[in-house]
Symmetry: C2
Subunit: 361 residues, 2 copies
């Protein structure tokens, strides 16, 4: 299970194949989560988000954690190369390019992850060019896409190192109209092969959306990805910066296809208005959703009730609450919060065992 992953492992030598990356979940993927994923042989991403005002502080903190890490591999990688063995994810419709580039130049994360520009891929051209110039190409370009046409356009325009191919099961934001990875990953792969003369120029494909265990990992590899990105799984990790109520709801929710929904209501009640129209977000069904969609409540009243709910703290989460629980359809497969190292070890081990078992060896 290593041949197709040589590019990733030569770029990120502390990682194990197949690669597991953690999604740059807004407000949650902070230094403790990002470093723990990289320490466990994965690639951890910091959330840069759409408001990059905390970016420098988070990168500074991450750098300190790397220097103090007991993991000699990532500590030495940083000491020897000056490259931070973590990535940073941006929500490009809102993120400030100048602030981002200055921070990238200073801290040199090993990857940036672009997502949701107003215009895909045009608005990302300057980002890709400036980031490459800032660290002389050592910060690799990852771009998240959710449709075949996006993948082809982005590959052609930006020559990214990695495409994160996100299917409809993903939690949080993604394309409102999308296939799951079961068809999206193979079709993206085929389309890239048709559109590229040589295989060398192809970006690495990572699958995202609904992958929470070794079964999802093995499936993703079967579909043609070189690794996976997980988000929801890490919400229930010891190292995520997540409210206790949020994590409890992730552990409680089950039957994710039925009990999560794609909607814009969770942005509307929280007054987040910047997302381009093609996106919505998947979260566990709660009162905000039911009031909006089933009871026809207007946004103003729904938002007022949300603001009241915030005062309840952890008790505001849950099916009868109003705090947003962004999570993917795999939420029902997550039964306990675990240390990140355990999650990565189990996913890899289960995937390898499954594939060997299917092969009859």
């Amino acid at each position: 299970m290593t041949a197709s992953n040589s590019v990733l492992q030569s770029t990120y030598p502390w990682t194990k194949a197949p690669l597991i990356a953690s999604a740059p979940m807004l407000n949650i993927a902070l230094p403790p989560l990002a470093i723990s994923v990289s320490e466990a042989g994965g690639l951890g991403f910091l959330a840069g988000g759409f408001d990059v005002s905390n970016l420098e502080r988070n990168l500074e903190e991450t750098t300190r954690l790397v220097r103090e890490s007991k993991n000699t591999e990532i500590r030495n990688f940083h000491a020897e190369t000056g490259i931070l063995p973590m990535g940073v994810g941006f929500i490009n419709w809102g993120a400030d390019l100048e602030i981002a580039v200055a921070a990238i130049e200073k801290y040199k994360p090993c990857a940036v992850w672009f997502f949701a520009p107003r215009s895909q891929p045009d608005d990302l051209r300057a980002w890709a060019e400036r980031v490459r110039a800032a660290t002389d190409g050592r910060t690799k370009i990852w771009v998240q896409v959710g449709a075949v046409i996006e993948a082809v356009d982005v590959a052609e325009a930006l020559r990214p190192d990695v495409l994160v191919v996100q299917g409809s099961d993903a939690g949080g934001h993604g394309l409102a109209r999308s296939a799951s990875v079961i068809t999206l990953v193979p079709e993206v792969r085929d389309a890239l092969h048709v559109n590229h003369a040589t295989k060398d120029a192809l970006p690495v494909i990572l699958a995202a959306g609904g992958i929470v265990d070794g079964r999802g990992m093995a499936a993703s590899l079967s579909l043609g990805s070189s690794g996976v990105v997980m988000g929801t799984r890490f919400l229930a990790s010891s190292e995520a910066t997540v409210a206790r109520g949020y994590q409890a709801e992730v552990l409680r929710a089950s039957d994710g296809g039925r009990n999560t929904v794609r909607s814009t209501v969770y942005d509307r009640v929280r007054g987040i208005g910047g997302w381009p129209e093609r996106y919505d977000g998947r979260g566990v069904v709660n009162e905000s959703y039911v009031d909006s969609v089933e009871r026809g409540m207007d946004d103003e009243e729904n938002r007022r009730l949300y603001q009241e709910e915030v005062k309840k703290g952890d008790d505001g989460w849950g099916p009868t609450g109003r705090m947003t629980t962004y999570a993917g359809t795999g939420v029902g497969l997550i039964k306990e919060a675990l240390p990140v190292a355990t999650i990565l070890e189990r996913v890899r081990c289960e995937a390898t065992g499954l594939i060997r078992n299917l092969a009859g060896i």
Copy 2:
């Protein structure tokens, strides 16, 4: 790749493991498709649909085709057991139990496939009981589900032989709110294991929804299924009873997450009003959808335009047409119409090769 499939192969001895079944697609899965799938070592289903008035005629025709088949295995199976080596699928909210049971008793299909009763699982109790009695348990009970709770309830109430676990990528009808197989199949599997004392009592799980090639098959097996059901792939087969315009649209359409939608509009324009509210259907975006959803056209006008379009015949299909192209998100992976035998051989061969390759052997 055979161990977990022994139950299916002992029940259906002409089939190869892992099992490939063809979905009972309304008006399309007629005797030529059903027999060709079984002749190729799969399990072909006839569409019984919600109006079973053609059922007896189709079973009679299928029986004749089996008796005349050049495939000695399925001919002998039928001659020796009296069991028809094909299944019949019903849309249970509309199908007449008495007519169905009489036909099943007479022709003895090897399986029935239940889908979309008004009340799940209650409305299926009589169906399961009567079918079992009609052929002394030799007609096996398959039930299609689209959520974990449905799977658990059906398994408990009906003790089906097979659960067809349908994910959100599927073409045609399914639960409007659903996960893809990437999370649904593992969560169903886990839930059944928790709810059953012994593994022997567990139904076999087949994955459906977005599976069109060996990659989808290998992924489904990784997720915990014992085989797959394909629908959309067989729309582009030589043996499907499908309009030329419909098949051409399946071959044309790509980027299925973007260019297909789940909607009830395709039922509404065709005047099909019986589906329980929890279902809609996935089809390629066309003028009926755009008029209804983006331009706010009322159903009456939309239906009138549909009826006009019918007169165009094959030219009525396509993105600017109004004839319905039910298809899954995997539609973009289908580039040519092929004989059923070639489809099954390629899917099996690709899946096996992929798994061996991932295992490094």
